[in-house]
């Protein structure tokens, strides 16, 4: 009986996996991406971390996972584009840190709005050391949002360097913005702006936390 039940459960899991994604074609990039996204979903579903006062821990663990699958230095380099060449190693390091903070502010805080949307893995295409994993988020209203992850091969791992949502590339977006700021003022001004934004954000966070207590 238990064997029978277990067999049934297994069949359900296999069926669910077949429907929700990760089909037989799934290559290494998709597998690696999926395992990290699953980790994020697990953190978000964790009832212990869902409590109001644990929002900070929750964000910290999401960022830790993001560091495992995203290559922030490559994303920063591609976003800064031509201006990356003329930066010193110290400046580059500082910029990657600031850029990581910027992404955390704008995206990881949004991820907390996640409410059980389904993620489907549509396909994968590989081109030398680059790969694109196409996914789709199905919202509760039933509309689909296509999200493509551009990944590159580094050592034994595939790391994401760009995300395309609805055909709009993250790197292209920041590249235009950074270029405009640097052209109209200077690189120092860009760094200054990013720093003040981050400080304001941290200040906001601090106030929110003290008001909660």
């Amino acid at each position: 009986m238990t064997l029978h039940r277990r067999g049934f459960a297994l069949a359900v899991v296999v069926l669910a996996a077949a429907v929700l994604g990760s089909p037989a074609w799934a290559g290494v990039p998709t597998e690696q991406l999926k395992s990290q996204i699953d980790r994020v979903l697990k953190v978000l579903d964790d009832p212990d971390l869902k409590k109001e006062n644990r929002a900070h821990d929750r964000r910290a663990s999401v960022r830790r996972i993001a560091n495992d699958i995203f290559d922030f230095s490559e994303t920063a380099k591609r976003s800064l584009a031509r201006h990356w060449q003329s930066r010193t190693p110290a400046e580059r390091e500082e910029f990657v840190q600031l850029f990581g903070d910027l992404l955390e502010r704008s995206y990881i805080s949004k991820i907390e709005l996640y409410g059980g949307e389904k993620i489907g893995y549509i396909g994968e295409s590989m081109d030398g050391d680059l790969a694109t994993v196409r996914t789709r988020i199905v919202t509760r209203h039933g509309s689909e949002i296509p999200i493509d992850y551009k990944m590159h091969h580094l050592g034994s791992r595939w790391l994401v360097y760009d995300v395309t949502i609805e055909g709009v590339s993250l790197v292209a977006n920041y590249r235009t913005q950074f270029n405009k700021i640097i052209q109209t003022s200077s690189y120092a001004e860009l760094v200054k702006r990013m720093k003040t934004k981050q400080e304001e954000f941290l200040e906001d966070e601090r106030q929110r936390r003290t008001s909660q207590k």
């Binding site: 380099k77 591609r78 800064l80 584009a81 031509r82 201006h83 990356w84 060449q85 081109d127 680059l130 919202t139 209203h141 039933g142 509309s143 551009k150 760009d162 395309t164 609805e166 055909g167 709009v168 590339s169 790197v171 292209a172 590249r175 235009t176 270029n179």
Partner: protein
């Protein structure tokens, strides 16, 4: 004698007119039949939505080449660009299809990258951004909320 001279003048005039017309049509039609200059790069788009052969290729709004051909390859649109020889593209340059104004013509915009590797002639731009389909986006907002 007089008649021959008039005839010759008319002949020369006519010939000059035909030459001028030929020059004009080549210039206006942007036909390059004396061996095209510059170099060729390939870009694959999931969709070109309105881009045509002859469309502009721009960096920072400055024309740096033209779309030579667009054809289907593996259910994707393969766009061949002819770029001016003095324009160098980095390996991580991004090609995106943009619209002039809200409903203007389509053109191809390239945002230069930061890599030290350059795309060689007959190479490929690997980073692309497909055009945003406003109708599709709109329909999502109209029909999306059930």
């Amino acid at each position: 004698m007089e008649r021959t001279r008039v005839n010759t003048a008319v002949g020369i005039f006519l010939l000059l007119g035909i030459l001028a017309l030929g020059y004009l049509s080549i210039k206006l039609g942007r036909v390059s039949f004396l061996g095209a200059s510059g170099y060729v790069v390939i870009v694959d788009f999931p969709s070109v939505g309105g881009l045509k052969a002859g469309s502009n290729v721009e960096i920072a709004g400055v024309e740096i080449g033209r779309v030579e051909t667009i054809r289907l390859a593996d259910y994707q649109a393969r766009v061949t660009l002819r770029l001016n020889a003095d324009v160098k593209l980095q390996e991580d340059a991004i090609a995106s299809i943009k619209t002039k104004g809200l409903i203007g013509e389509k053109y191809l915009k390239i945002s230069p990258g930061g890599s030290d590797k350059l795309i060689p002639p007959n190479g490929r731009i690997r980073e692309v951004e497909a055009p945003v389909d406003f109708e599709e986006l709109l329909s999502k907002y109209i029909f999306g909320k059930v």
